[in-house]
């Protein structure tokens, strides 16, 4: 059996949808493919070496740096980007154009608590925080710190981000 993918086409499963990638060099990172080929610019690229976390996506249930995933090797994986954290119209491919204006409770809390300044780190942090709270709905302060230790923010000093996470934890707790 030949599983090789040449330069023609492969299909990724992103935000619940099959997304064909055509005419792409197969060595491209998932970050590049998301942004430049699939109109999903939510994940940001800053370092392209796994250091900053601004490109964080969920792959098969793990938060990973999309800049360190070779996109063509991610066939068969379940990928969720920041655009896929909310309900989207399943009849259309999720892209920057079609995405609804609705936002998640974590995004709302980041806004309300002032966890966003320049905003470059924000999508990666939003994905990392969603991932944390899914696995661990009531994390300790240390667990929150450790879970976003791979997400660099140069603006906020993190205090507002921790406040946002705490706010989400409290609201979710009250509504359970």
């Amino acid at each position: 059996m030949n599983n090789s993918i040449g330069n023609e086409m492969y299909t990724l499963h992103i935000n619940g949808q099959d997304r064909p990638v055509k005419d792409a060099w197969v060595g491209e990172s998932l970050l590049y493919v998301l942004r430049e080929r699939l109109e999903l610019p939510g994940a940001k690229g800053a370092c392209e070496q796994g250091e900053c976390g601004s490109c964080t996506v969920i792959m098969d249930g793990d938060a990973v740096c999309s800049c360190l995933v070779m996109a063509a090797t991610a066939v068969g994986a379940d990928i969720v980007t920041v655009e896929g954290l909310i309900e989207n119209d399943p009849s259309m491919a999720v892209t920057a154009q079609t995405i609804t204006s609705q936002i998640t409770d974590v995004q709302q809390a980041f806004i309300e608590e002032g966890g966003v300044q320049c905003g470059f780190c924000t999508p990666g942090l939003i994905v990392a925080v969603h991932h944390l709270l899914e696995k661990n709905p009531e994390p300790t302060e240390l667990q929150v710190k450790e879970s976003i230790s791979g997400n660099i923010c140069r603006c906020t000093g993190y205090g507002r981000i921790f406040a946002a996470v705490e706010a989400v934890v409290q609201v979710r707790k009250a509504s359970r």
Binding site: S4, I5, G53, T73
Partner: protein, 282 residues
Amino acid sequence: MTVAVPLSLAEAFDELSRTPDARLIQGGTDLMVEINFNHVKPANVIALRRIKELRTWHVNSNNTITIGSGVPYQEMETGQLKELLPALAEAARTVGSPQIRAAGTLGGNLGTCSPAGDGLPVLFALDAIVHLQSLESSRDLSIHDFMLGVKRNARTANEIITGVTVPVLDGWQGYAKVGVRNAMVISVASACLAVDKKSNSVRIALGAVGPTIIRCRDAESWLVQQFDLSIATSIDPAIALEFGRRVALESKPIDDHRSTADYRRHAVGVLAKRLITRAYPS
């Protein structure tokens, strides 16, 4: 360039015989950095991430554990693997960030074979066996024969590292590392210490202070003459200090962009003293 995503080892070997020059990729946390920065441009890539055989681990009947080369660090940090191999759990927890630990593996750490690789001092302290397999044959190599130098190992191009086997020891073990901060640092100096009460022995292996990981055989044999490791519960602080001094003497550090030789030599001495004091609180 082609990318193959085999679903089994057998398929992977088929791919490897079809494209003998192929680069293997597991978590991608080393190789993708090289590719993103155009340092390497492989003609062919074989991704191992979907090979389930490589992503499992098991306890063997002779009280050893075999860990597949594709098991990510995050699985070593908690649960049964942490209980059985505490030093590996501590080392795994120091690697990069949660994102890196979800992807990075021992197979990749061995493939890259950097003296600063955090998995390697643990494997050296535990005298790990590295399992290598090719289409035609398989072989088991001692970690001491596997790592040959800075980013050099004994793997041949047609081989896949399938896993490592390490013993479950009876005694304290741990890992410590010095870097500029807690998260996301490559080691400036590191050490793994493991006590085996059964054989009344101690093993200490140093990372980032030589071209390969260094086992401090002299310091190890000196220490066992000072007290009985199998019954002691605490250590004389003077012995811990002298142990650190002797460990530092066996390191072979260099100056580079991350630190100086002097600092590294000093640091491994401190790490050794701390580790033995954690094992036997003074």
